[in-house]
């Protein structure tokens, strides 16, 4: 039975086993492992990519949300995403090593030129995967990096057409994502599969290239001694990637793409040399960005055509080896310069820190509240009372916040309009937290401090407090307070709904949501502050929904403590 199975297999994989028998010249060596390490990393990309595609939703409203979901909520999603993202870096590094080794060994020489060129195509494909994959996350980093990349492409001849084709029209949108997604998961993998196959097949046809000066050595079997070296190298390379991914907890994710917000876009690290070159080129940056890849590419493609002759010893080919090593050293130096320049930029570090804070907030909110279907940007609006608080921030804070430098009105904060607040106000209406900063505060128009016994003051407080409709008002105290009010306050005020007092504001329903809405709409109405009012009216500036939301927030403040306020989190 076993023989028959073996025979069946052998018949069908004969071609492969014959290839295996072709073997490695001069015996197994760690020098031959790089190609297989690249194949392993491509496999990692394919497997993790397939898993990620089962979760990713390519549309402007959902792309970021689905990526954040994978990163922060799917079990091991962060690990798979991290392997996929950092795996590209690993591919670039190992492909670079493979390429430099091939160049130093002269392994591209006749008859292996095709293998070399197919390898270069694969390198370009890897970079294509990186570019098309980075935009898919639709966060600030990927979104703006893509702007730069497409911007470079657009400045080339026929650039406008290329840009329109890539974006799927005139602007970044849903079609941009669906097109880059199709490119990333269908077109490029299809091409890569063919190219990897052709590269492997052609390199196996020619057999591995031994070190210079060892040509003609009898090949030994690849299996198992070379295969073991290949597998050990793969395992070590993967372990390094895995360790790095775990140390980084996957890949980073910035806040959702925001066309309105500036962002310090940086290309992926393997494009940083080009980025630096553009900086150095100054006003010639567009030319540099286009010419440099052409020169580098042209040089690498042309290498087997100019470095001819059978001798592969690097000593005999010093100019070419120096050119290749010099090229990569230059790329390395430019990369280092770009990073060190950022390192010394204090302002940039500050902006990056702010961006990271924004990202962690967006992601925390996405986990807690989910992302609104209206779009990932709206995740920020899922914080409690977002509308009211953002209006307060813009329209009210300057005059009403305790920390405001040029406060013009009473402090509005936690506990605004609760019993303690009323009592403090009644004792000293023109004191600092209340009318101290207003125009009428120091004048005779302002209300005089109420002089009552502490017990009476508590009762009077209760009747004012009860106006808001607060459920916990004490009816007995309210009744006593009402009697006090009728005796001491009615010269200027009234508690009847919709009735202004004699000179002072009407206090009916004071502190209720409707009262706040009315006051915010027009504080100078006779029933409110009348001519004494200093605060501008907001019925023109804010919609009724916005004013109502703001009123709701002020009502909430009454029962809120500073801790509650802090718990809401930043906007």
């Amino acid at each position: 039975m076993k023989e028959r199975v073996t025979e069946w297999m052998a018949e069908r994989v004969r071609a492969l086993s014959e290839q295996t028998r072709l073997g490695v010249p001069g015996g197994p060596s760690l020098a031959y492992v790089f190609g297989w390490v690249i194949v392993m990393f491509l496999g990692v990309e394919a497997i993790t990519g397939a898993a990620l595609s089962a979760f990713y939703a390519p549309s402007t409203a959902s792309a970021w949300a689905s990526v954040a979901y994978v990163q922060d909520q799917v079990p091991l999603g962060w690990l798979v995403r991290g392997l996929h993202y950092h795996g590209t870096s690993a591919l670039v590094i190992v492909t670079g090593v493979h390429l430099v080794q091939t160049a130093i060994w002269g392994a591209y020489k006749k008859p292996r030129e095709l293998v070399w060129w197919l390898g270069l195509v694969l390198l370009v494909l890897v970079l294509g995967f990186a570019v098309s994959g980075y935009v898919l996350r639709w966060d600030q980093a990927g979104y703006w990096a893509n702007h730069v990349e497409i911007g470079i492409a657009a400045s080339a001849p026929l650039g406008a057409t290329v840009k329109g084709f890539a974006l799927g029209g005139n602007e970044y949108g849903n079609l941009t994502l669906t097109r880059f997604y199709a490119l990333h998961v269908v077109a490029l993998p299809g091409i890569a599969l063919v190219m990897v196959g052709a590269h492997l097949w052609s390199s196996r046809m020619h057999g591995s290239t031994p070190r210079w000066g060892r040509d003609g050595l009898a090949p030994t079997k690849r299996w198992p001694r070379q295969t073991l070296r290949d597998v050990v190298a793969m395992a070590i390379a993967f372990a390094i990637l895995l360790g790095y991914v775990i140390s980084q907890h996957g890949a980073d994710l910035a806040s959702p793409a925001d066309p309105a917000a500036a962002y310090d876009a940086r290309p992926l690290w393997y494009f940083r040399w080009l980025f630096e070159l553009r900086h150095l080129a100054g006003s010639y940056e567009r030319i540099a960005a286009m010419i440099a890849p052409v020169i580098v590419g042209g040089f690498l493609v042309g290498l087997p055509l100019v470095d001819r002759g059978p001798d592969r010893s690097p000593m005999k080919r010093i100019p070419w080896v120096a050119a290749v090593v010099g090229l990569f050293a230059l790329i390395g130096v430019l990369t280092f310069m770009s990073f060190s320049q950022d390192q010394g930029d204090v302002a940039l570090a500050k902006r990056d820190e702010a961006a990271e804070l924004l990202a962690s907030r967006a992601r925390a909110l996405a986990v807690k509240n989910g992302v609104p279907i209206s779009g990932a940007q709206d995740v920020f609006k899922t914080v409690p009372m977002y509308t009211a608080r953002s209006i307060f921030e813009q329209k009210c804070k300057g005059c009403h916040d305790a920390r405001s430098k040029d406060r013009k009105g009473p402090i509005i904060g936690a506990g605004h309009g609760n019993r303690a607040w009323f009592e403090a106000f009644l004792r000293a209406p023109s004191s600092d937290p209340f009318w101290g900063h207003t125009k009428i505060g120091p004048t005779d128009d302002a209300m005089k401090p109420v002089e009552l016994t502490p017990a009476e003051l508590t009762d009077l407080t209760e009747v004012l407090y009860a106006q808001s409709g607060a459920g916990d008002a004490d009816a007995t105290k309210v009744a006593r307070g009402k009697a006090l009010f009728d005796k001491a306050c009615t010269d200027c005020h009234s508690l009847d709904e919709g009735v202004s007092g004699g000179g002072g504001p009407g206090l009916g329903e004071l502190g209720s949501r409707d009262w706040y809405t009315s006051f915010i709409s027009n504080p100078k109405k006779a029933i409110h502050m009348g001519k004494l009012g200093e605060m501008p009216r907001f019925d023109g500036d804010l919609t009724i929904t916005e004013r109502d939301a703001l009123a709701g927030y002020l009502v909430w403040l009454r029962t809120a403590s500073q801790a509650d306020l802090d718990k809401l989190g930043p906007l």
């Binding site: 990692v44 497997i47 898993a51 959902s62 979901y69 091991l76 798979v80 198992p224 295969t227 279907i373």
Partner: protein, 175 residues
């Protein structure tokens, strides 16, 4: 030395084990991630009663009336949506003031069941139920009566609890 058969055998075994192990380690997180949603509650719909309108919309003794059950909030994997239709229900107030609600989800395979004034009919496989929601035998493949839904009145509003039951079973169990 290199061709010692024992050593070769060991190398082959080591290569196979290490290679296979590496493959498993690479594939495992991806597989774990992909099976994660299988038994997870990825879509969260409200379990508490949902407002379906004012009590007045149901006349006492009138025939069954169809209402849409709209969830105020539904969390679906990464999104949160508001006012999401969950399904439909047939509701009525009987002559003796009893409030009744039936899920419009067919207990066979989940099609939306209609009412023609006398009988409930599933358009997919012709199962029929009486005016009381009792299965009419031998009409179609459904195995049980229409599923009643808890309904109550709170401050003059109808509040219905949306429950999905297992399909195509004779016993009624929440899904």
């Amino acid at each position: 030395m290199a061709d010692d058969p024992d050593r070769r055998g060991f190398l082959k075994a080591a290569t196979t084990v290490l290679g296979g192990g590496l493959g498993i380690v690479i594939a495992a997180p991806a597989l774990r991630m992909c099976v994660a949603p299988t038994n997870a509650q990825t879509v969260t719909t409200p379990t508490d009663p949902i407002d379906i309108g004012a009590l007045e919309r149901l006349k006492v003794g009138a025939p069954w009336q169809r209402v849409d059950v709209i969830a105020p909030v539904v969390k679906d994997a990464w999104t949160t949506a508001h006012d999401v239709p969950l399904g439909g229900a047939w509701v009525r107030r009987t002559a003796d003031q009893k409030l009744q609600a039936l899920s419009s989800v067919c207990p066979h395979l989940g099609c939306a069941v209609g009412f023609d004034g006398q009988t409930f009919l599933c358009p997919c496989h012709n199962s029929k139920w009486t005016d009381a929601g009792v299965l009419v035998p031998n009409t179609g493949p459904a195995q049980r009566d229409l599923d009643p839904l808890p309904i109550q009145i709170v401050d003059g509003r109808l509040r219905l609890t949306w429950v999905r039951y297992k399909l195509d079973t004779s016993a009624r169990e929440p899904a």
